[in-house]
């Protein structure tokens, strides 16, 4: 090895060092501590005599209530992701293909503007819309379309509406990047060969945008299952999700070990998704061995 090739990585390593330290200090250390706490009988700082235990995990697995909470969290995450995809894809396709620069700028602003407002503010806005005496119910009732107010607040539907609104920009931005990189001439080639515009989309653009669909879905799902403010405000503690449960265990029950175990469960769900994502991506992009 020449001296140049040995000194060069060292120079690069020096630049990586700050971020590596930051990562270790604020990412691996807390998660490591959380994993440790989830397997201890108590807080070692307060109680000197602690032992390793699996009782926190056993409690989660054995109590149907906690499994129900986990399932609710995943269900809200899945529905939010699917709705965000259904709304986000056409918008992203439009943004990626629009010719006019002004049009693109306006669309981008429309997508980004809500993100400039805080989540709490936007969630309160949804409360004024969704509640029994809210804008939607009042309007529908005055039009005589419904007799009783629709139950929108304190339901999963309400939570999903709020979450979709908050996380759809992440889906749109991820998808726009991927769709924008697909050569428009591929669709034209398909049309030239006799595919209708819809068929050309289904045969060419859709499969080629799968990496974007997967990435956007992963992002939205991870954000949705870890959302805290929106499920609390729109669910009013009547819909219990993992983040709310974790908060309760810490603030009300002071059961840090159990909260840590729930946190690890949330983390494992997300990690399994990332692994599944990578697998799926490998399959769709067809990375066969070169002959």
């Amino acid at each position: 090895m020449s001296s140049a090739s040995t000194t060069r990585p060292n120079g690069v390593a020096l630049f990586i060092l700050p971020s590596a330290l930051l990562f270790a200090l604020f990412f691996f250390l807390p998660i490591g501590l959380m994993a440790l706490m989830s397997a201890l009988t108590g807080n070692p700082v307060v109680m000197p005599k602690v032992a390793f235990t699996t009782r926190h995990y056993a409690r989660i697995v054995n109590d149907p209530y906690y499994l129900e909470v986990i399932w609710t969290t995943i269900r809200i995450g899945l529905v939010t992701t699917l709705v965000a995809l259904a709304i986000g894809y056409p918008l992203a396709h439009w943004m990626a293909r629009i010719k006019s620069r002004t049009g693109h700028a306006l669309l981008l602003m429309a997508v980004l503007a809500p993100m400039l407002t805080g989540i709490v503010v936007r969630t309160f806005a949804w409360m004024t819309l969704l509640s029994d005496k809210g804008v939607i119910n009042q309007t529908l009732m005055s039009l005589g379309l419904i007799a009783q107010p629709l139950k929108l607040m304190y339901t999963e539907t309400g939570i999903v509406i709020g979450l979709v609104h908050i996380y759809v920009p992440f889906m749109v931005l991820t998808l726009t990047g991927v769709i924008g990189r697909i050569d428009e001439r591929l669709e034209q080639a398909a049309e030239n060969l006799g595919a209708s515009p819809l068929r050309a989309f289904l045969e060419v653009t859709l499969p080629l945008s799968l990496p974007g669909i997967l990435a956007g879905s992963l992002l939205v799902f991870a954000l949705a299952i870890s959302a805290y403010v929106t499920p609390i405000l729109l669910g009013g503690f009547q819909i219990m999700t993992l983040p709310i449960l974790i908060y309760q265990q810490i603030s009300a029950n002071f059961n840090v070990g159990f909260a840590a175990a729930l946190g690890i469960v949330l983390l494992v769900i997300s990690l399994m998704l990332v692994i599944a994502y990578n697998r799926a991506l490998g399959l769709v992009s067809g990375q066969r061995e070169l002959q």
Partner: protein, 356 residues
């Protein structure tokens, strides 16, 4: 099978008033290799895209075998197209790419397989069916694109600078193969290129375009030997263009240079441009006798450019004009070197009068 195309006064104006194509009219005959030639931005690709149906003309009509297809969507036009970057589907294999058009036409599996096999054999790609486009060389991708376009037996084959990305050797080989294939299948082929040599070598007829307009339509030899406009004369090959005032049967180009006009051009007055190809000028060592006014001139060699089969001289005339002269390299005798005094002679009939 193959069709004729009539482009009748077609214009394309984009938002913001940019006139990409301006009242273009041409007839492309059945089974003809027809090139659209011009510099970038001349409207040749836009014209091709309107034939393919990817752009809608702002005015005018496009007819195929007499039937108006101006507003027929692209997927119902039954035309094959080879794109500049090939536009192969990256997520599909070579065989799947070629099969795409047949699948859209609802053919059964067996005949799709047979047609794909035949098309790949025709472009000499048998055995690469299961590769993906990314695993192929540029030349191979080009052949896949060609196979994908001809397998559907299109009425017209459209090619948008299909050879632009290939290196010179491969390019010449593909030019030859494409031409051969076109003749063999009797295809009507519309070929867009900015490379005049390519257009001259391959085409039955060429439309030279500039600024959204057609400058001249003709066979390669017509385009080269009888350019009608200054742009065509300048764009195709090397040429000497003289601009001057017509005085009787002569053209007075600046001071001290008189050119005799061709016999057919004895009428009229005013400002005129003429073109004279470098190879139409004969060169000899200067002879200090009176020379024929109007068809000869004295000059000094400024620059000698040895091309192999020919020698290109840059010569400054005594009148101050600069002229390119090309002489065949017979392999005998010595070349003129910079500083040599020479006499140039030409035949007035070789001057081509140009429209501005």
């Amino acid at each position: 099978m193959s069709a004729s195309i009539e482009i009748a006064g077609v214009s394309k104006v984009y938002d913001g008033g940019i006139r990409a194509v301006d009242a273009v009219a041409m007839d492309i005959r059945q089974g003809e290799f027809f090139s659209l030639l011009g510099p970038s931005g001349c409207g040749k690709t836009t014209t091709l895209r309107m034939i393919a149906g990817f752009e809608t003309p702002s005015a005018g009509a496009i007819r195929v075998d007499g039937a108006d297809i101006t507003h027929v969507p692209a997927h119902k036009r039954d035309m094959g197209m080879v794109f500049q970057n090939y536009a192969l589907f990256p997520h599909r294999t070579v065989a799947e790419n070629v099969a795409f058009g047949l699948r859209m036409r609802g053919l059964d599996k067996a005949s799709i397989a047979a047609n794909v096999k035949a098309a790949l054999a025709m472009v000499e790609l048998s055995g690469l069916e299961d590769r993906r486009p990314a695993q192929l060389s540029g030349g191979q991708q080009q052949r896949v694109a060609l196979a994908r376009a001809i397998v559907i037996a299109p009425r017209v084959l459209l090619c948008d600078e299909p050879l632009g990305a290939l290196d010179k050797k491969l390019r010449q080989q593909m030019q030859f193969e494409l031409k051969q294939l076109q003749k063999k299948l009797g295809l009507t082929l519309v070929f867009v290129t900015h490379d005049q040599e390519e257009a001259l070598a391959m085409s039955d007829r060429i439309a030279v375009m500039n600024g959204g307009r057609v400058e001249q339509v003709g066979t390669p030899s017509e385009i080269y030997n009888q350019p009608t406009t200054r742009f065509v004369a300048d764009f195709i090959g090397d040429t000497n263009i003289f601009r001057g005032e017509r005085i009787g049967p002569n053209l007075s180009v600046g001071k001290d240079l008189i050119l005799a006009l061709p016999p057919a051009e004895t009428q009229g007055t005013g400002i005129l441009s003429v073109a004279l190809r470098p190879e139409k000028i004969r060169l000899s060592p200067r002879i200090d006798v009176a020379i024929a006014a109007g068809s000869s001139a004295h000059g000094t060699v400024e620059n000698t450019n040895f091309l192999g089969g020919a020698v290109l001289y840059r010569i400054t005339l005594d009148s101050g004009h600069r002229v390119l002269v090309q002489q065949p390299n017979a392999g005998t005798g010595r070349l003129f070197v910079p500083g040599d005094a020479v006499t140039l002679e030409w035949t007035p009939a070789d001057l081509v009068v140009l429209k501005d």
